[in-house]
């Protein structure tokens, strides 16, 4: 590590430090306050509002929107969504870890090329890719030909629409979102570390379990957030690949906002989802902290 001594710029270090930190936090802070927190306050406000005959938010105060949430219909949608999101997240994290480890253990000059290789498919429009999947999985399509050839099926068979196709589509869509953060945190690992562990007689599983996974934890946590939560909001894939009979909560909110023009109700569902997720995250935080303390 090279280092150059800078002629001391003296002053009150504490104040300067604080001022500099504030300046660094300012851009992200301003964006968050103005473009996230402010709209969110509006959403929360609107979840208590009434609408006019055209669905325009009229103000006022009512708990009706939350009252209507007591309908078991919403509970069902929420439960199903959480299940789908959990399954997608597990698959993405496992595959994402494998790919990230592979990329991070290549020679450094090849890593960026590999990252590009992973991301390029996603520069083709999302709908175009989804329609490609539809064509692939349709009866008489390429996948059908392969399964025919190896004797899995005989004659036309299709996998569209199905929960399986929807699952493939979701995993496909969120894989890079999982790979990138995990890679970013594995990236800083000194390759000699795992070699050293191995030389000390640690088996493969132990090297990964005891050395690499803990280092990748921030990345894995990030990947979890980036996959689990957005999956709840997905609405095109379940419709096109899954047939649209089973609604995800994202689909419900989109319907409420667009087709129904019922912003307050949509806002109420969103607020409920928000509270639920934050509670889950807080619980997860508490649990991991406990575990870490015990370990």
């Amino acid at each position: 590590m090279t280092s150059t001594a800078v002629p001391g710029t003296t002053g009150a270090p504490g104040v300067r430090r604080l001022a500099l930190s504030a300046a660094m936090l300012a851009p992200a802070g301003v964006v968050t306050l103005a473009l996230v927190v402010a709209p969110l306050v509006l959403v929360i406000r609107n979840s208590f509002a009434r609408t006019d005959a055209y669905g325009n938010v009229q103000g006022g105060f009512t708990l009706d929107n939350y009252g209507r949430l007591a309908d078991p219909v919403f509970l069902k949608v929420l439960g199903y969504s959480l299940g789908v999101a959990a399954a997608t997240t597990v698959a993405c994290l496992v595959l994402g870890y494998v790919v990230s480890y592979y990329v991070a253990s290549r020679p450094p000059q090849r890593q960026l090329g590999l990252l590009l290789l992973i991301i390029v498919p996603f520069w083709t429009d999302f709908l175009v890719r989804t329609f490609a999947w539809i064509n692939l999985l349709s009866p008489g399509g390429p996948v059908n030909s392969v399964t025919d050839a190896i004797g899995l099926t005989s004659g036309p068979a299709g996998w569209i629409p199905s929960q399986g196709a929807s699952f493939i589509g979701l995993v496909y869509a969120f894989l890079p979102t999982a790979i990138f953060p995990i890679y970013a945190s594995l990236r800083g690992i000194d390759p000699s570390l795992s070699e050293a562990a191995r030389d000390l007689g640690c088996g493969w599983w132990r090297v990964h379990g005891k050395v690499l996974l803990p280092i990748a934890r921030p990345g894995l946590l990030a990947a979890f957030l980036l996959v689990f939560v957005p999956t709840l909001g997905v609405f095109v894939i379940p419709v096109l690949l899954g047939g649209g009979k089973d609604q995800l909560v994202g689909n419900l909110i989109v319907t409420l906002y667009t087709e129904f023009r019922d912003q307050p109700m949509g806002a109420a569902v969103s607020v409920l989802l928000l509270v639920l997720l934050l509670a889950c995250l807080a619980a997860a935080g508490v649990v991991t902290r406990r575990l870490r303390r015990k370990a």
Partner: protein, 273 residues
Amino acid sequence: MTRGKPRVHVMDRISAWLARGVIAFLYVPIVAVVVLSFNASDVTYRWTGFSTKWYAELAGDTDLLATLLTSVEVAVLAATLATVCGLLAAMGLNRLRSRFRGVFMAGLFLPLVVPEIVLGVALLSIFGALHVGLGMGTLVLGHLVVTLPYAALIVFGAYGSLDPSLGEAAADLGCRGWTAFRKVTFPLLRQALAAAWLLSFTISFGNIVMSTFTNGVGSTTLPLRVYSLLKGGLTPEINALGTLLVLFTFLIIVCVGVRQMRQVLTGGNRSPQ
């Protein structure tokens, strides 16, 4: 050391093959897109013969190409802003060790926990209330909201796995501020920053929902255009565009990329394995 070739564990081999398999899996639909782009048929689902007519049609479709340009502009701006903001925030937070840190991070990740359409509609109302004209500016801001958590999480993750003693060591050696950043932090974060930028770019480039509510006159993006074509059925022209995008990127990787990127990204201080 008198070791010959390092022993490769069988699980290493299996996981490497699995990783290659996953990367190949990402290309499955792309292959289909490429093949279908040469389909003579008007509809994407039936093969009637080889043709390059969709490429000719694409070349003449200035509107579609204009939306592509809009998308690239927005994605580059949003990804750059998101990465810079994310990096600054990671560095700024690293210097603060207080409860404020948690609050700030929670705020930063809020957009992830709120369905995009909800944020989009709320942003639209706010822009409306402030009489901000909808256009490229609002579109970029909307995309910044969507991409910032991704960029920030990646940079934070990379920052988190850096050795915390590094910065202190640098500071002890009198290496502070800009110099410490340039000489110590940045080289170590280069690849994570590239990853953050790439993912942000990709997310912005493919965004539909936020674009729907924050775009305005003359700022229709490619995904919006494609999405609105759905009702009438996608034309194979779109497959041709997808094919060209993939091809174009590969060309960049092969021609310009490899050598220079190596220099830019690995710098001199990391020796190859």
